[in-house]
Amino acid sequence: MIAEIGLAALAFAFAASIYSILVSIYGEIQQSSGAMISGRNAALATLPLLLIAMLALLVALVTEQYQLSYVWNVSNPQTPIFYRITALWGSQKGSLLFWCFTTSLFTFGAIVFNWRSERHLMPYAIAVMMATQAFFIGITLILENPFARWWVDAITGDAFESILIPSNAIIPDALRLAESAKGLSPLLRHFGMIIHPPMLYLGFVGFLVPFAFAIAALASGDLSTNWIKASRRWSLISWVFLSLGLILGGRWAYDVLGWGGYWGWDPVENAAFLPWLVGTAFIHSVMIQQKRGMLKVWNMVLVIGTFSAVIFGTFATRSGVISSVHSFARSSVGFPMLTFWGAMTLIGAVLTFHRWRRGELRDEHEFAGLLSREMLFVLNNIIFMALTIAIFWGSFGAPITSELFFGTEITLGKDYFMGVTPPLFAALYILMGIAPLAAWSSTSIKRLGKALLIPSILTVITLLLLMVIAPSYSDPVRFNLAGSDSGFFLPAQAVAAFSYAIILLAGFVAIYETYRGTAARVRARNESWLKATITLFGRNQRRYGGYLVHLGIVIIGIGVIGSTLFQYQTRRTLDLGETTTVQNYQLRFDDFQQGAAADGRFINRATLSLSQNNRIIATIQPRVDEYPQMGMMIAGAHSTAARDFYVLLDDFDETGNSVSFAIYINPLINLVWWGGIVLVFGTLIAAWPKEVLPAHLRGAKQKMSGTNDVE
């Protein structure tokens, strides 16, 4: 029964999306408001319909209806209730349904909030959003249906899957179904993995909204900043979800995959990083259009590029074509997804070209100087695009081209990415430090130097301090130049000093600019520092929220440099009670326990005490969880702001008296996660709706239009 309800709701949602596309376009062409409203209502109706479909699957999971092959595949009688719920997105079919639901959540919101203000853009925007939604619902319905059920052929006795009730078939025995059910993949039983996919999906699908408004602007010919106004907040929300999704994915890898790192330059990781890069360029670049009426072509290219990267990323993850730890099993959705990706990108490109040729995307101002803020933003766009192209080339371009033209597949590994990305990231951090200080039209070097003076002094002081307390161990860093043998080496400290200098400078610029704004308020209006800070952020959310985001990225950068350049790795085999010294730590192996847990896994856990200067500072418990399918190393760690002491239970004999550990000291790694929190906070400030702020924080009326809050 529950399968039929879900199936019907899904089918109705599909029909409603298709209807909405056709009627919305008809309404726009005929200028019939009746048709437009009908199209809107159909679009709105998809949210409750998809909610019903999703709830139906959830109920089936929670009530253990193993006849549904999805439920049978991702859970079993031992699965705890919590993982039953999260199993909703634990595998391809369910996660596609979940994806459809999140899409409709965004489209619903975009329609409700913008219907009145952007009415002339809405029909086309709805058509684009519904086309995307219809595509994904169609795939879920036809190719990857989560409501397919097991049946047994009454004559041959063979089990088979079918969505509809087949003739001449009986329902399989419930007990056998439950006994044979598979259970959730052990790798997915982790907090990071539970919220990483939904965050990533929210980030991915959210970029549909700005894309839809951009296409609507191109199609309708209203190329003012209306489409940007309508979609700015949605871009920011999607961006923050995408950022969170990436960071949580890293955290999951760090805790569960057992290699002491958080980013492996795996093709699928990269596929999720590409929309982030293009999207980040986009949310910077649109500010120039709002403020100066420039970079119109850039913005169209970037918003189309972001959505294109989203669909490509989805294809890369879900088609199973690219071999990676992340991919779902090989699936039939590959070809349709690639087609959809091509079609959407092409529509966007053709429309942009059409408007550009008619001169409708011409900039309203000329570029005045090389050091102007608008020029630095163009440079920012270029670097982000260069990173995108470099990462795309390394992950997909090179293997595909070499296969096509040379008949042999060439893959680019970690070395490639570690060679190509650092200079580009460095350029971005430099821009992050300079661009906010540059003036419109042009800036003189002298003026810029003056503005940079105090942040530079602070950077130098911090660097000197760091040199005093920095760890002394580390391998030199290799730089590859044209070919693998002609590289050169630099001491890690030199690389770190340079990296920290540019990263810290960007951070101090953000802090100092915020301080200056606050101090000015304190002086001019005699406000308290706290009140002045709050008012400053409230009055100019985008600017100061943006600085906070920059600060988050700076903190992440410091963490990445520290943990990449100065990671220390060693291994120890210890007898029970034995103590070993690792750098200035003492590690004692205290206990080893084994036992079965209620959810079916068998746990092997070592207990170690970590001490410094003969004082115990932490108990560390690395473990190996053995599931029927596989074993999983879960790291134990002592985390501080300065470093993680990270231990893996590598190997043990039957008695547990002699156990081998892999030990990593990861300096500053926690800054990667903490920077993420700052980043989220900053984005929230930047995106928070003015309407809900208290009156005194909203600022002048003119600012409410949203065009003037970039300085």
Partner: protein, 180 residues
Amino acid sequence: MTEMTWEKSPAQEKNKIEEKLKRRKSERLKFIIGGLLILGAVGYLIFSSTLGGASYFKMVDEVVNNSNLVGQSIRLTGAVLGDTIEYDATTGTLSFIVVHIPSDYENLAETLHEAVTDPSRTQLVVQMEDTTMPDLLQHEAQAILTGEIGEDGIFYGTELNLKCPSRFEEQAPEQLASQE
């Protein structure tokens, strides 16, 4: 007075416009040169990193007894023979044998199973140093390795990715079939 201005201003205007055009031209030239420099730098960066980081994707059959490939960076895939896995946790030395699988296949799980049960398949010894015991390293897993082949015919791996498709791929439950 009026005549003078009347005579002078078009010339002045002309000069001004010319100067403006000239300036714009030189500005544009600056932008173009700057843009080309950036493009060149990025292009060089991608090109040199590609040379530095490239490895050829090979099958076990192509690698074994091929002296041309000795010392080259190679990415390789094969099926793991479970009985041959040896791991020394004190040194972190891991070794195992992979057997050849074809590059084109329909069903990975079946391909791997065929490979490990066929004694005539080409075998390759893989050795890795300073590693932990990977969670998924087991019989019939697909190993995707990066590394190089030594003069001794052993493949010295630096990176190992594993896939166990049979474990998670959806298959009809045999237990359900024979009901009566």
